[in-house]
Symmetry: C2
Subunit: 293 residues, 2 copies
């Protein structure tokens, strides 16, 4: 039997290779193609598409059916990173050790590449061959809801509004839920929906995904306090420096660790409610929540 | 019988009122809502939704059915204007006599408001009550194709690439087709598609829309040379100043006028092929091609 790591690595290799050739057969302006492909292929853990594939796998659904929606989700995630890195936003020169899109190209190109990736996400779903019209409509409706003004973009707006302000734990959770949680919810939700699962199962997985998102976030916050710069590959202490509201800041380090454990337990509980007890999905999620980089 | 002007004014009032209340019942971050609504309601001729409604009207299709797609198209058009005006792009402080989005708010907000409007366009179609799943999928597929990297965004990229360069008439036409033509094509195409028209009719209307787009563009270029600043409400001669490639520059003023007339004749011919001889759509289009502002 394959180990979870081997399964995850196999799926990740599939996702990477699909993303690497995504625009090969598509006619478009060469510069926009280059800029889109650059950020899409600069690396990354591919957490979102992996979560969707692993959820589909837990219900015996083929990778081929789900893949276009996975790729669409990664396009939307990547667009959000490109725009987030812009000088007017977080003003980052590097991401994952590589130049950010506007540094590699220029600001105008980065704005357009982000716009193009967002739009192309919808195109991928609308052109998917193995989905019914009903499935396509639902996948695009939910994608617009989780990524638009009522989802991720709304979260980024809250994030800007709250900059350098002291916020409550409730507000912190709302920002994280919108900014990063909603796309994670989409990953598990779609894996189950495209597998024809009941609303009961889908709702449990959405609650699991919400807990997973908060677990990841608290882990991120904790690593920024106690992480090893060598292992992380980035400077620690930047949250403190930027006066960012974080879980350790609001709850203390041990309070944050407790809070994380609560969400890990919630994740296990909701996955079990969805009938997922020993699938690779569960192992992958639990492993990520213990990661050190 | 109502005059064409009265019909168009009625439709425009409907579109304006729908856009003015578009987010009233929607839960989202208040600042992103304000920024989206600002640019959506700053005015404008509403050419794209009007063309779609008038096309639907020519085939006897209800306004109610087509309206969500009209509003989606205006959202996408508005997002493109917001991003186009950004400092990294055209760097415009005013549009239609009002502050541009990043001047009224700030750059980060304008980037997010554009992102949100683009995404919301897809949400509007996916949530439309009077469309079948098949119609929604086709409307979203075409919207992504005409506005994404193979359409409008690709055109903007060409536009940046060609800045301060001498280009051929062929290249000029390709830029205009992608940058502005594709959304106009979408307007007429969807008006006919949602009316259940044959592919023969839809193709004729797409050719008509392409000719309409080029007619408008040449008219724009001509007005920038010979227009009356008082009537236009903006400075003339800016194309010359910015060394932009235009029809008068490539063909001379009378050559440009001739070219425009060729496209007006093409428009009439294609509308006739689609069975549209004396509908308000035809009068509206021909009137716009003679406009002085």
């Amino acid at each position: 039997m394959m180990t979870v790591d081997a399964i995850v690595n196999d799926y990740k290799a599939m996702i990477d290779s699909q993303l690497a050739t995504l625009f090969d057969q598509v006619t478009m302006n060469l510069k926009i193609k280059e800029a889109m492909a650059y950020s899409l292929n600069v690396g990354g853990k591919r957490v979102r598409p992996l979560l969707m594939l692993l959820t589909a796998e837990a219900f015996g659904t083929s990778t081929e059916k789900v893949m276009p929606v996975c790729l669409a989700l990664e396009c939307v995630h990547t667009y959000s990173l490109i725009h987030d890195d812009l000088p007017a936003m977080d003003d980052d020169d590097y991401r994952r050790g590589q130049l950010t899109n506007h540094k590699k190209f220029d600001e105008a190109t980065a704005i357009l590449a982000g716009d193009a990736l967002l739009t192309y996400g919808f195109q991928l779903i609308s052109e998917a061959e193995l989905l019914t019209d009903e499935e396509k409509v639902h996948a695009m409706k939910r994608l617009s809801q989780v990524s638009g003004p009522g989802g991720m973009v709304g979260g980024q707006m809250y994030d800007l509004t709250y900059e350098n302000k002291t916020i409550s734990l409730e507000q912190l959770e709302e920002v994280h839920d919108l900014k990063t949680g909603q796309l994670l919810i989409y990953a598990l939700e779609m894996g189950a929906y495209l597998s024809g699962q009941s609303d009961h199962v889908i709702q449990a997985l959405k609650r699991a995904a919400k807990a997973i998102g908060l677990t990841f976030q608290i882990q991120d916050d904790i690593l920024d306090v106690i992480g090893d710069e060598q292992v992380l590959g980035k400077k620690v202490g930047s949250d403190e420096l930027n006066e960012k509201s974080t879980y350790p800041k609001l709850l203390g380090l041990s309070g944050a660790k407790n809070e994380k454990n609560i969400f890990v337990e919630e994740t296990k509980k909701q996955l079990a409610l969805a009938g997922i007890m020993d699938a690779p999905l569960r192992d992958y999620v639990l492993k990520l929540s213990q990661r050190e980089h």
